[in-house]
């Protein structure tokens, strides 16, 4: 009886990968536990072990093939004596979407990036670089690394510290290649002690260095949050301006996919509350790069909130020697006249999807990406709301004390007379993140909810 070997999912957010190498050939005997292939994901190269025994009947996907979807058949194992010559995948192997229903239909977080290509076609109204600049398709992951590497080349005092940033090449592959370029003095693997190394890095910044601290995810930064707030954010003030903490705390923030309550928490509103901190939360690769370079040069502690699902997404990034984006300047992703949708980070995927859907129904949405949450570009938001007279905010975090709450209050105070409807805040639900795929989908913000909110404020 032939057994199909399927492309494995090797990380919570993996949707596809590269079949880097076959370690067996057709006709070879395969035993359970044998390493039969090497598969490269966007995070790492992994070994693929056989679970079943048999003879490699047919290899369906040649080595070197990129973009092999999770759950696509990649080979067929046969029993001894079975004829392998006429074998083919039971379902067309080239129908990975059908073969991976869990990834596309049920897993909400994973479904989002699949459609995240759409926003790339949305035109930025106020570009951050001259028209005609050469662009290069770059992942958010590469953009962050490029920004760190450029700044480390420019300033000897910048170094990267964190768990698995060096020899492992980054738990999410962000620092890939940096150990080779900068050496162990400047790309420093730490033990798993967030509280301790966040404190050491903050002390090093008092001593004149410019640390970049990677938290594998910001969930783990809860162990260290005292140093982020009490040590890094407040020292400049407490010292009457004598010394502060010029440093960056960065890492994945918010929900990934199916990783449960303790690994799926957006901290945007928490850090945005603290005077002395700056907070950036980019959506696109260009913003990730430009804002990261600005963050490293900033003389204050910067919380840089990344997103695991966005890491693998590609966007056009300007090819410039020194591309930076100032903090406190929102980006208008698309212009519109009926409603203002304000978002940031991965919330932008829902905002832009909703805008596309609304356009089909004749509703023109202006979509603003705040990009930084401290400082916040109030003026861009208020100017837009004064034009559209309606506003919906979109974010992944919890609803109580959300960024959207703060924007609503600001709009009420400064543009009350322009409003034709109450501002609606679309947020994640007020529950710890569940594991079950269907529950997780409903715990997160959805595009349909954004569409519904826009219809409510436009009375449609």
């Amino acid at each position: 009886m032939a057994i199909e070997l399927l492309m494995p999912a090797l990380s919570p957010t993996m949707e596809e990968g590269t079949l880097a190498k076959w370690l067996v050939k057709e006709g070879d005997t395969v035993k359970s536990g044998d390493i039969i292939a090497e598969i490269e994901t966007d995070k790492a190269t992994m070994e693929f072990e056989a679970v079943d025994e048999g003879i490699m009947g047919k290899i369906l996907v040649a080595e070197g093939t990129e973009g092999v979807k999770v759950n696509a058949a990649i080979a067929i194992l046969v029993e001894e004596g079975e004829d392998a010559s006429n074998l083919s995948a039971s379902e067309p192997a080239a129908a990975p979407a059908a073969a991976a229903p869990a990834a596309v239909e049920d897993a909400p977080a994973a479904s989002v990036p699949a459609k995240a290509a759409a926003p790339i076609v949305s035109k930025a109204v106020e570009p951050d670089y001259p028209e005609g600049t050469e662009m290069k398709s770059t992942t958010v992951r590469e953009a962050i690394r490029d920004a760190m590497s450029e700044e480390m080349r420019a300033d000897e005092n910048v170094f990267l510290m964190g768990e698995e940033v060096g020899e492992y090449q980054g738990a999410y592959k962000i620092s890939q290649g940096m150990l080779d370029e900068f050496g162990a003095k400047r790309v420093i693997d730490t033990p798993i002690t967030e509280h301790g190394f966040a404190g050491i890095a903050t002390g090093a910044s008092f001593g004149g260095l410019r640390p970049i601290v990677e938290f594998m995810t910001f969930n783990f930064a809860l162990q260290a949050i005292d140093h982020l707030i009490n040590s890094a954010a407040k020292t400049l003030y407490m010292s009457g301006g004598q010394m502060g903490a010029p440093m960056v705390f960065r890492g994945a923030n918010g929900a990934a996919a199916r990783v449960g309550a303790q690994h799926s928490h957006c901290f945007a509103a928490w850090y945005a509350q603290i005077p002395g901190l700056k907070v950036a939360m980019p959506y696109s690769a260009a913003d990730a790069k430009g804002l990261m370079k600005t963050a490293i040069r900033d003389n204050n502690p910067v919380i840089f909130l990344e997103n695991e699902i966005l890491y693998g997404k590609s966007f056009d990034v300007p090819v410039l020697d020194d591309f930076t984006i100032p903090f406190g300047k929102a980006r208008i992703w698309r212009e519109g006249s009926d409603v203002t949708i304000v978002s940031f980070g991965i919330g932008m995927t829902y905002a832009l999807e909703a805008a596309d859907k609304l356009a089909e129904e004749g509703i023109s949405a202006e979509v603003i990406d705040l990009r930084t949450l401290r400082p916040i570009d109030y003026d861009t938001v208020l100017t837009s709301v004064m034009k559209t007279n309606r506003c919906v905010t979109v974010e992944e975090g919890f609803p109580v004390g959300a960024i959207g709450n703060h924007l609503s209050a600001t709009i009420m105070e400064r543009a009350f007379d322009y409003l034709d409807a109450p501002v609606i805040n679309c947020t994640g639900k007020d529950v710890p993140m569940p594991y079950a795929a269907n529950l997780e989908k409903h715990a997160l913000i959805t595009t349909d909810e954004v569409v519904a909110a826009v219809k409510a404020v436009t009375y449609r």
């Binding site: 170094f159 003095k185 730490t190 033990p191 002690t193 509280h195 301790g196 190394f197 966040a198 404190g199 050491i200 890095a201 903050t202 002390g203 090093a204 910044s205 008092f206 001593g207 004149g208 260095l209 005292d226 140093h227 009490n230 040590s231 020292t235 400049l236 003030y237 407490m238 010292s239 009457g240 301006g241 004598q242 010394m243 502060g244 010029p246 005077p275 002395g276 700056k278 003389n299 204050n300």
Partner: protein
């Protein structure tokens, strides 16, 4: 756990010059008189909030500072007045910070617990128990990164010694050979909880052995013993051999803060320490018995110090409160 009774006469005076002894005497006396004055101003309502006095512990910072050189760094907790005076910060600026005035080291925005001096390499002044330990290791990290031979003194108490981040820091400091001296100022009481009621560890410095860090216990009421230990620790760090731990056994005469009812120890216990182990009296005795100074000389010193301390109090009262605009400055660099 109280230090063994040793009198000042038994302290080693070999290799200690008259000038050194006089300096330690003056430095310790300045801290004591300054703290007494601070207590007085607190009682008058001129100093607010928390105020943690260093009286009784003077030999610790004065002894440790004796082995420092320019560029060495120090960082401590909220019981920080003594450290600031010992590293040469101006008493006027410290006192004016205590009164929350514009002439204070932090322009009145830090207070008793949060003062800093870039010039004197004093990095605070930290109010979260134990937080200064990784911060101190980070300062040492910056010196090692830059390739100089400066060291950092990270002071913390017996209370902080039970915080998890201290041990995270031990681990990394030893792993990376950071030039940091962990100074455990064991004054026997974490606020109102005695060491015996917080841990069954027989000694705090020995915990470093779990990480491979060398250390020792030091009689913190004997400034010469502290100085000797400091020299040893500094030599270890400057030679690139990594961190070192000094558990300095000391005693605070006053309460944890100004609002301490002191129900956790007897008056007799405190009085006995004052009578038998006072660090300033010990040096005074050495100066007199060694014929390094006369009673008149010491009286003159006392008088000079009183002048300095009174002047700092006058400065701290006369200095204006910070301008209201200061509320909005120094939030971002």
């Amino acid at each position: 756990m109280a230090p063994k009774k040793t009198t000042a006469n038994t302290a080693s005076t070999a290799n200690v010059s008259k000038d050194e002894l006089l300096k330690y005497y003056k430095d310790m006396l300045l801290i004591r008189r300054f703290e007494e004055k601070a207590g007085q101003l607190y009682g008058m309502g001129l100093i607010g909030g928390f105020c943690h006095l260093y009286i009784g512990q003077e030999a610790v910072v004065v002894g440790l500072e004796a082995a420092t050189k320019e560029g060495d760094k120090r960082i401590t907790s909220y019981r920080d007045h003594g450290h600031m005076l010992a590293c040469g910060m101006n008493p006027d600026g410290v006192m004016a910070e205590l009164t929350g005035r514009e002439g204070g080291y932090s322009k009145g925005k830090g207070g008793s617990m949060h003062m800093f001096s870039k010039e004197k390499h004093f990095y605070g002044g930290h109010g979260i128990v134990g937080a200064q330990v990784p911060l101190g290791a980070g300062l040492a990290f910056s010196d090692k990164y830059k390739g100089n031979d400066n060291v950092t003194f990270a002071y913390f108490g017996d209370g902080a010694a039970n915080q998890g981040q201290v041990y995270e820091t031990y681990n990394m400091a030893q792993l990376w050979d950071l030039p940091v001296i962990f100074v455990i100022e064991n004054n026997q009481y974490a606020m109102g909880t005695s060491v015996q009621r917080s841990t069954k560890s027989p000694s705090l410095w020995e915990r470093g052995a779990a990480y491979g860090i060398k250390g020792e216990e030091v009689d913190g009421m004997d400034v010469l013993a502290v100085k000797e230990a400091s020299e040893k620790a500094v030599a270890h760090c400057r030679a690139g051999k990594g961190p070192y731990i000094l558990e300095v056994k000391t005693y605070r005469y006053r309460g944890h803060s100004m609002s301490d009812p002191a129900k956790y120890r007897s008056r007799e216990e405190v009085q006995k320490m004052k009578d038998e182990r006072d660090p300033i009296e010990a040096v005074r005795s050495l100066l007199l018995t060694g014929n390094h100074a006369t009673e008149e000389d010491l009286k003159a010193i006392d008088k000079d110090i009183k002048v300095v301390v009174n002047a700092s109090a006058e400065f701290a009262k006369a200095s204006p409160e910070p301008a209201l605009e200061e509320l909005w400055t120094d939030i971002y660099a």
